[in-house]
Symmetry: C2
Subunit: 205 residues, 2 copies
Amino acid sequence: MDFSSKLLENAVNEMSRLPGIGKRTALRLILHLLKQPKDNTKYLSEALLHLRNEVNTCEQCHNISDTLICDICSSSKRNREIICVVEDIRDVMAIESTSQFNGKYHVLGGKISPIEGIGPQNLQIESLVNKVGSGEVKELIFALSSTMEGDTTNFYIFKQIEKFKITTSTIARGISVGDELEYADEITLGRSIVNRIPFEQSIKG
Amino acid sequence: MDFSSKLLENAVNEMSRLPGIGKRTALRLILHLLKQPKDNTKYLSEALLHLRNEVNTCEQCHNISDTLICDICSSSKRNREIICVVEDIRDVMAIESTSQFNGKYHVLGGKISPIEGIGPQNLQIESLVNKVGSGEVKELIFALSSTMEGDTTNFYIFKQIEKFKITTSTIARGISVGDELEYADEITLGRSIVNRIPFEQSIKG
């Protein structure tokens, strides 16, 4: 792409470093900003800078938080004996939106992925093992995505905490509520048959 | 969406004002920035701010340019008698990449669109009419997209410059090179039959 302006070229190059944003998309977004009042660009830039420079993670669960200890970890209403292990803040938000979980979280910050160069030492695994080792945790729920990396991470953590003899579980995999069986993939359908639950339990909601 | 951090929420809100970027996408992009070095966010923010605050348009063609008069307008190799009327910088870049046009451009900055509240006074139409009126332009090529707004804008400009008796043309519409006829829409195929060109002309490339 041949730009008539170095300033524009520079902005497009920086914007197109974001994942899934190509040069054409970046140019479209930036031309949009140029048509809007200057303040919009100012607010966007400042919001990004503030976040990046001042972002904090909760000391206990490592979720993004403005305070030293996040609202969930500091809440006396949440059960500190059940810990849900997730990859990042999006998973916490997704689970919170179901209102079905009353325990606390532990945000790993990613999954073990040799291809991307992410090893156990890059994730919040040691602090999780210490938390379990301290004896106050009774159940650990693994809620990582069921990919090769997710399964590897689950297994790695499981091996580390096995000795503490606590309950471990993973979230149920199966056919989505409302989905037709015929369109489900075989692995999911297979798992949902193997891990079938008592009918009385299913009608409780 | 319930965020655990005001800083994060603010950044996501600002990012999701961009066209085609929803809150989920904004969150994904911002989490990416948080995993990258702080400098990446700094460079992006600064590039956007610099561009927005210092952006300049060429005095003659109104294209985005770092100089008072852009490279194309100041080039002595370009034919100043032929002006190609386009909507924005992306069209200039697209036409320039073909290397088939040796004239100059006039960037309107948009199309007449009553729905979006864009009237002729919001576009660089008056300066185009003055340019044509000065007598140095011999041909005007309309290269706006062939939408309702594009056609309206073409027609509005045509009415304003009709009195100057210069040549006007629009870029050819037809089947894309390499496309199968059977998949073309009827309007495009219809136009390409009505506006057929002598065979000898077509094989010149």
